[in-house]
């Protein structure tokens, strides 16, 4: 067998699977988004209409779509920086020469990442119960009146953000820790001889050296956070007052609850375009900073 043919033998099965079960559906999704494919059409293909960009225009006039977009941006804009800040703090602590039992702490802090999101969302739902939850109990001990975490439209999203940060910070922590460990030690030595404080070292050595890693982490996290779904599905069902309905939750309801598959495909593509646009922008801003 020639190496060329062998190579094709090796790559074809995987490419076929990816092609048939991923790339082809993506193209089909675009085609579908130009139609009004729904339950009526599932029952009888005669009920299918080509609507061009109608679904997209329609969505832009749907208040619920804008609200879900707003909710998603809220989640991303608050959640991503918070998540990265926590990850960075944890990574700095773990990287510190003063820290003991590093292996244990690393594992402990990472544990939430591997847990099943549905299961821990169930836990958090009770953790944040207005009357019987441990969180309000703890607040009560320091004299703060109970907060209706998941029941009020003002607190529901912050609660979900806290949950997401708890669940995810360990992931970025590991990547940032690797980034920290790659910074040459003599840089710090020199700074120490100059008498620079911890904060000065952080600002002038650590953060600049960590920038490429930070950019990467920010992009991964942002595109992940745009895909918020399981948390509101389990904890709030999108409520109260639709305050936790994310774009993806909206797509799930349109598509797999009401079976407006054409419209849901349009939502999926808008979300995709959004993620692409935002991450491209981040990449561009990040790169521009590199060559002043």
């Amino acid at each position: 067998m020639s190496p060329n043919r062998a190579a094709w033998l090796f790559v074809t099965p995987a490419l076929a699977v990816i092609g048939v079960f991923f790339l082809l559906p993506v193209l089909a999704a675009f085609a579908l988004s130009l139609t009004d494919f729904d339950l009526y059409a599932l029952a009888d293909r005669d009920n299918l209409r080509f609507v061009g960009l109608g679904n997209y225009l329609d969505l832009l006039r749907t208040p619920m779509f804008w609200q879900s977009l707003g909710n998603t941006f809220y989640f991303v804009l608050v959640g991503v920086p918070l998540s990265i800040a926590v990850s960075l703090a944890a990574a700095l602590l773990l990287d510190s020469k003063l820290a003991r039992f590093k292996g244990f702490f690393r594992t402990a802090l990472f544990a939430p990442v591997v847990t099943t999101i549905v299961a821990v969302a169930v836990i958090w739902r009770y953790f944040f119960h207005t009357r019987y939850g441990l969180v309000n109990y703890t607040l009560d001990l320091v004299g703060i009146p109970p907060i209706d975490w998941l029941g009020s439209a003002d607190w529901s999203m912050p609660t979900i953000i806290l949950f997401a940060v708890w669940k995810n910070f360990g992931y970025n922590m590991i990547i940032l820790l690797a980034g920290l460990q790659a910074i040459p030690h003599d840089l710090y030595e020199a700074a120490r001889i100059d008498g620079a404080s911890f904060w000065k070292q952080l600002r002038h050595i650590t953060l600049p050296m960590l920038k490429p890693t930070m950019l990467l982490v920010a992009i991964i996290t942002t595109s992940g956070y745009f895909q918020l779904f399981a948390e509101p599905y389990v904890m709030t069902r999108g409520g109260p007052l639709q305050s936790t309905t994310s774009v993806l939750y909206f797509m799930f309801e349109e598509g797999f609850k009401w079976w407006n598959l054409g419209r849901a495909s349009a939502v999926a593509f808008l979300l995709f375009a959004l993620i692409l646009g935002v991450t491209a922008l981040m990449l561009r801003l990040g790169r521009r900073g590199e060559q002043p």
Partner: protein, 273 residues
């Protein structure tokens, strides 16, 4: 700052982090052993007054948890095995075998990595329907048999295999399949373990697609079953905690045993681009 004070501060903060990370999990375990209704009290009890296995018994005997556990284990194992076979072959070929259009093909694949999986879900459902795979194990397993990320991971690792080794084998007259099985696979072992645990955990924890494809309880995985149980038994705290314990424990143990490989994969995977 005083070095001793700094040391106390650093370790104290780490302990704080560890408590926040682990407390919900510990509380889950504790509540799962409480008799029904005990956790709905103020102040919330931290430990069960008289530990009981009743919640677990009910889950397995009445709510069919054993079935869901088996479903999850089977699906995650099958996905892991199959996707390993497909991704290893492809990743190795992209790293070490020369063929026409290799670079362009690989770039296309990498480009497709930015497409969120949800974009494909709707047509994929219709495709699965026409293949008769809705409401079956196949509906989950078949589309997961190969993944771009897995191929990428294998390729990154396989590039470190010295070409001389492969050339020497070829000169000795070994066929490509034989080279792959006898020389390449043993060298790839660390990345095989890494990819296996990655895939297994991802498949075990996956929620949205199984939620869509598996409406029949017979095939449901743990997360899907747990979500539906928790909507129906909103008031049964203790039962749901036991369900969470059953769902989380297998993956947590797997991670604890193989965490080195998992973290290696995480770092390898994040240096793309």
């Amino acid at each position: 700052m005083n070095p001793r004070l700094a040391k106390v501060l650093v370790n104290g903060l780490l302990i704080g982090f560890a408590i926040v990370s682990l407390a919900p999990l510990a509380w889950m375990l504790s509540v799962s052993f409480m008799p029904a209704g005990e956790a709905s009290a103020f102040p919330p009890p931290l430990l069960p007054s008289s530990p009981t296995l009743a919640n677990y018994t009910q889950l397995f005997e009445r709510d069919g948890m054993g079935r869901y556990l088996a479903n999850s284990a089977f699906i995650a194992s099958a996905v892991t095995l199959l996707s390993l076979a497909f991704n290893l072959a492809a990743g190795y070929a992209f790293a070490k075998l020369r063929f026409k259009g290799r670079e362009r093909l690989f770039k296309t694949l990498l480009g497709a990595l930015v497409i969120p999986a949800q974009v494909a879900m709707i047509p994929l459902f219709l495709l699965m329907k026409s293949l008769g795979l809705v409401n079956s194990y196949g509906g989950i397993i078949v589309p997961a048999m190969a993944g771009i990320f897995g191929i990428f991971l294998v390729r990154q690792y396989a590039r470190s295999i010295p070409d001389e080794l492969l050339e020497a084998a070829r000169i000795d007259g070994a066929g490509e399949l034989r080279i792959f099985a006898r020389i390449v696979l043993p060298l790839l072992k660390p990345i095989i373990v890494t990819l296996a645990i990655f895939t297994f955990l991802a498949s075990w924890n996956d929620f949205m697609w199984p939620l869509i494809v598996l409406s029949d309880q017979t095939y449901q995985t743990l997360p899907v079953a747990l979500a539906s149980l928790s909507r129906e038994h909103v008031m049964d705290n203790e039962l749901m905690m036991a369900g969470s314990v059953v769902t989380i424990t297998p993956v947590l143990l797997l991670f604890l045993v193989l965490q080195r490989y998992y973290i290696q994969g995480l770092l390898l995977g994040s240096v793309k681009g």
